[in-house]
Each structure stands twice: as structure tokens, then as C-alpha cells.
């Protein structure tokens, strides 16, 4: 393996940052801090998508995840007043030894499995027609849009129905009776 290029160095730095922020997200006690670390993770993921030539998804990541979903989560955290539902107060005994052992076991097994898969996989698919040069000459968003409104029009409409059901369902569930 020859010397790492600029892209690889940037990617590795971003990967380390993503792992660090997601670890902080999982380990921080305060739910608000947890959510803020999650937003940092989402922004770093958006930059990684940019490095992988997925500009449309990078923008959608920032708008949908870091914007809409995390705003919703922060709002709900404030709504349910975390003082009453804070972790670690009196509930520590509930997380018993079997749960801890199961957690450790799942960490090791899952990580080993995923890393083995990542190291020994073989990319078996055929190369598609949308190489970087082709996509850049047309424009990434234009390519995605043409596919969404062409080949994938029916799933796109189904997704709109799903969103409508989600809106109505959320209102019905959260309505005060």
C-alpha cells in the first residue's frame, strides 16, 4: 500500500471523529448532551458522504437528520422534563450482571462479525453506468432526481403516503384526550 493520499487522511480523521462523537453520545449521562453529540456525528457523516461523491445525500443528511429529526428529539427531551426520568437514580440495581455480560458479549461478537465481513468480503456486483465522471458531468442532484421521478416513481409515491400516515398518526397518538 503506497502513501496515503489527501482524501484518505481526511477520511481517517473524520472516521476517528465520528467514532469519538458517537461513543460520547452513548456514554454521556445527560440526554441533552447526548443529543448534541449525535448532531455532531450526523454532520461528520454528511462530510463523509461528500467524500464518497453523494452530494444530494449529504445535504439531505444535514437537513433531515441533523435538522429535523434531532430538533424533534431535543424538543421531546425538553417536553418530558428529564429531571424526573434521569438515568442512574435508584435504577442502577435494575441493570444487573446478566445485562452487563450480555452487552459485553454482543459488543464483541457483533464487532468481530462485522469486521470479519468487512475484511473478507468480495465485491461481486457489476459496475453501474453512473461513474463519478458521468455523474459530475450531469450533476448529482439531477441524476438522483431523474431516477426518483423515473425508475423509482412508484416507491416515491408510496413514501409520500407513508409520510402522510406518519403525520396523522403522530397527531392522533400525541393528542390529549
Amino acid at each position: 500500500m503506497n502513501a496515503l493520499g489527501f482524501q484518505e487522511i481526511v477520511f481517517i480523521a473524520l472516521a476517528v471523529a465520528a467514532i469519538a462523537t458517537s461513543l460520547l453520545m452513548v456514554t454521556t449521562k445527560d440526554a441533552i448532551h447526548s443529543a448534541l453529540w449525535m448532531i455532531a456525528t450526523f454532520f461528520i457523516m454528511a462530510v463523509i458522504y461528500l467524500l464518497l461523491n453523494a452530494q444530494f445525500i449529504a445535504v439531505a443528511q444535514v437537513m433531515v437528520y441533523a435538522g429535523a429529526i434531532m430538533m424533534l428529539i431535543l424538543f421531546v427531551i425538553m417536553l418530558v422534563r428529564m429531571e424526573t426520568g434521569q438515568e442512574g437514580t435508584g435504577g442502577a440495581a435494575r441493570r444487573s450482571r446478566p445485562v452487563k455480560i450480555a452487552g459485553a458479549l454482543i459488543t464483541v461478537v457483533l464487532l468481530a462479525e462485522l469486521l470479519l465481513g468487512a475484511f473478507f468480503y468480495q465485491m461481486s456486483g457489476r459496475s453501474g453506468e453512473y461513474s463519478v465522471a458521468v455523474v459530475n458531468s450531469i450533476g448529482s442532484v439531477r441524476t438522483v432526481g431523474a431516477l426518483l421521478y423515473g425508475q423509482y416513481l412508484f416507491p416515491f409515491e408510496i413514501a409520500s403516503i407513508l409520510l402522510l400516515v406518519g403525520i396523522v398518526g403522530a397527531v392522533v397518538i400525541a393528542k390529549r384526550k
Partner: protein, 103 residues
Amino acid sequence: MLPEIPATFCFILSGILFTIGAVGAILRRNVIVVFMCIELMLNAVNLVFIAAANALSSMDGSIFVFFIMTVAAVEAAVGLAIFVMVFRQRNTVDPYEIDLLKG
């Protein structure tokens, strides 16, 4: 043209992020943080889709990630509504305390 990042790097990063999310979802005792861990796992899957699509010079990865994001947004809206409702009834966000389905 920019050089390619090896897909293996992305797969390893995605595996680590997925594991962190899974362990957090099991160990944390706050439903909203558990929910955020599930979102992190979804993001790890998105990263695999994008990396594989980039390596195979295909555009389908972006389409799939778009639909996953749609489902995640709906899931966030409905799930958080359920959390608010459960909190109103039980005054807790501890997943061990929420046993409304117990007969």
C-alpha cells in the same frame, strides 16, 4: 478527478458505528437515548449503501438511502409521539418501567 476511498475503510467505520449503536440501544436506560442509538445504526447502514454504490459506480445507493431517511423521519415523528404519550401516563422514560402492554 478525485481518487477513490477504499470501500473497506467505510465498511469498517460502519461496523464500528453500528456496534456502538447496538450496545447503546441495549444498555441505556432512557427511551429517547435508545431511540437515538437506533438512528445511529440506521446511519451506519446508510454509510454502507453509499460506499458500495460509490465503489460500484451506481446511483441506487443514494435512492435507497433517500427512502431509509424517509422511513426514519416517519419513525421519529411517530416514536416520539408515543414517548410523549407514555410519559404522560407513567411519568417516566425508563424502558424498564414502561410495561403498559403487560396484562
